[in-house]
């Protein structure tokens, strides 16, 4: 606003004006953040809910007291129940996510490199991408049993499709002149793939990984809600069916922390692996 007014002032006053500084109009459009801003938003929001509930201008029925959620969380930790639920969940997330990611990158690279594979598999991937994978859990239970196998399969399958799409898009975007360069120096096919195509596709693969692992967390909870004794999903489902909001929120907080941890782990990998980016 201020700049706009200054601009029109200058236009009007132009004929008789003496020397004056050119108004600055180049600001904005550069999202440079503050690393503490995210934390401050969290703290303010939680403080708002806590004070609102204690003062009574938020009904006790709508939300649990944050301090009681914290206390529930402390009890979970003290009784050791936290690990009983967290360890199975994290191991399902890691195993399923790793299987899906590796298979997705592998198939994505093949689609990116070979025309026949692309022609054959891209329609198939497009067909399975929009299926809500959780709908297939009964199928996986029949195939892999009621135990861990079906949960690994579900999470892997959910991570697989976004990884395929991200990977072959990333391989397509690798600078062709670099590949021609590799050929012109007589590099072997394997060298070109390992030293030029894969590193060049890494930015796209890592941004696909963010989406893939977020989907993996969603499917992890869904699978545990549908059939597991232990796990964060089972814990949340149990709390929800008892309308125990403190425990429900404690479970949700664990999921959020898992999401933030995954995202910052990928961010850390990106900073290390993609240091070369301009």
């Amino acid at each position: 606003m201020a700049e706009a007014r200054a601009g029109s002032d200058m236009a009007r006053a132009a004929p008789q004006a003496g020397p004056r500084p050119v108004p600055f109009r180049g600001g904005g459009f550069m999202p440079i953040g503050n690393r503490w801003a995210g934390l401050v938003v969290f703290v303010l929001l939680i403080a708002f809910v806590e004070i609102g509930l204690r003062q009574g201008w938020i009904s006790r029925l709508t939300l649990p007291l944050p301090s009681e959620v914290l206390d529930t969380f402390r009890q979970l930790y003290v009784t050791g129940a936290l690990w009983d639920h967290l360890i199975p969940s994290v191991s399902r997330f890691l195993v399923g996510g790793a299987l899906g990611t590796l298979a997705g990158i592998g198939v994505g690279v093949l689609i990116g490199l070979f025309g026949l594979v692309r022609a054959g598999l891209v329609p198939l991937v497009a067909a399975i991408f929009p299926i809500p994978k959780i709908a297939l859990l009964p199928l996986f239970v029949i195939w892999f049993g009621i135990g861990e196998g079906s949960k690994y399969a579900l999470i892997a399958f959910g991570t697989f499709t976004p990884m395929v799409v991200a990977t072959y898009g990333a391989v397509d975007n690798v600078d062709r002149t670099l590949i021609r360069m590799g050929q012109s120096f007589g590099l072997s096919w394997a060298s070109i793939v390992c030293k030029i195509v894969l590193p060049g596709a890494m930015p796209g693969i890592l941004s696909g990984l963010r989406i893939g692992l977020a989907i993996a967390i969603i499917l992890l909870v869904a699978a545990e809600m549908l059939g597991a004794e232990y796990g964060i999903g089972a814990y949340i489902l149990e709390a929800g069916s008892l309308y125990d909001l403190e425990r429900l929120f404690a479970g949700v907080v664990i999921l959020s922390v898992l999401g933030v941890a995954t995202s910052s782990a990928i961010g850390w990998v990106e900073r290390r692996v993609l240091r070369w980016r301009v």
């Binding site: 002149t177 670099l178 021609r180 360069m181 590799g182 050929q183 012109s184 120096f185 007589g186 590099l187 072997s188 060298s191 030293k195 030029i196 590193p199 060049g200 890494m202 993609l274 240091r275 070369w276 980016r277 301009v278």
Partner: protein, 249 residues
């Protein structure tokens, strides 16, 4: 090793880009190819280097490449083609890793010294200026002991001053090592300063219009305005026609 280009023709679909180009590239000399844009200079170079297959004709190697040459026909690209995730030394190392050579580190150090890049061995391409990047690309080409260097407008992406400096580097290098090169450019000043032989291609389809031999030794050449004027006279109308043309497809 000499190269002989024998009746080379090429068409992309219905568009004839090269028509019956025959040319000798003798060892130890720099052959410059000039022509208006779209005359098929770069296509010709890619065919010489085996990156593209001609519709007719052939590129022949006469004699065998010097022993120890890891990649006889070696390109230097206009846009440098450096791997941005590898350091200067890593980019040179890339082209040696597929060969079982004992002294890879020594070889890398040697070419970096020859291109005055020793202090920047661990720098990433994003930290380098355009001229430095092209010197890295030249170091990488030297590392494989090429029989013929195929240079595709190597100075075109650089500013005028850097271009002059790098041209002096190239002349120095040639005086020390007498490498063979095919040097494609649209810059006539570069052609007359570096070329022992300047080949003028006509516009589409690319045919050889004239081959000019320049006998003056590389180190002592001036701007050679008369030769440049002659070349420009050959190309002027076609350059104007090329400029006025619409891109098709």
């Amino acid at each position: 090793m000499d190269l002989r280009i024998d009746g080379l023709s090429h068409a992309y679909g219905d568009t004839q880009v090269l028509d019956d180009v025959s040319l000798d590239i003798p060892a130890g000399r720099i052959v410059c190819v000039v022509g208006p844009s779209g005359c098929g200079k770069s296509t010709l170079l890619r065919m010489i280097g085996g990156l593209e297959r001609p519709s007719a004709g052939a590129v022949l190697q006469v004699g065998s490449p010097p022993p120890g040459s890891l990649n006889p026909l070696t390109f230097v690209f206009q846009d440098f083609a450096l791997l941005p995730w590898r350091s200067v030394a890593g980019n040179v190392s890339l082209v040696l890793e597929d060969h079982a050579i004992a002294d890879r580190a020594a070889r890398i150090a040697d070419v970096l010294a020859r291109t005055r890049l020793s202090d920047f061995a661990e720098a990433l391409p994003k930290q380098l200026s355009g001229g430095m990047k092209q010197r890295v690309a030249i170091a990488r080409a030297l590392a494989v002991d090429p029989a013929v260097m195929l240079m595709d407008e190597p100075l075109s992406a650089l500013d005028a001053q850097t271009r002059d400096l790098l041209m002096e580097d190239l002349i120095d290098l040639w005086q020390r090592e007498r490498f063979t090169a095919v040097y494609v450019t649209h810059n006539l000043a570069e052609a007359v300063r570096l070329g022992h032989r300047v080949v003028v291609l006509s516009r589409r389809p690319g045919r050889i219009r004239e081959v000019i031999e320049i006998d003056a030794p590389l180190g002592t050449r001036g701007a050679m305005d008369d030769v440049q004027a002659h070349l420009w006279g050959l190309m002027r109308d076609e350059a104007r026609a090329a400029d006025a043309e619409l891109m098709d497809g």
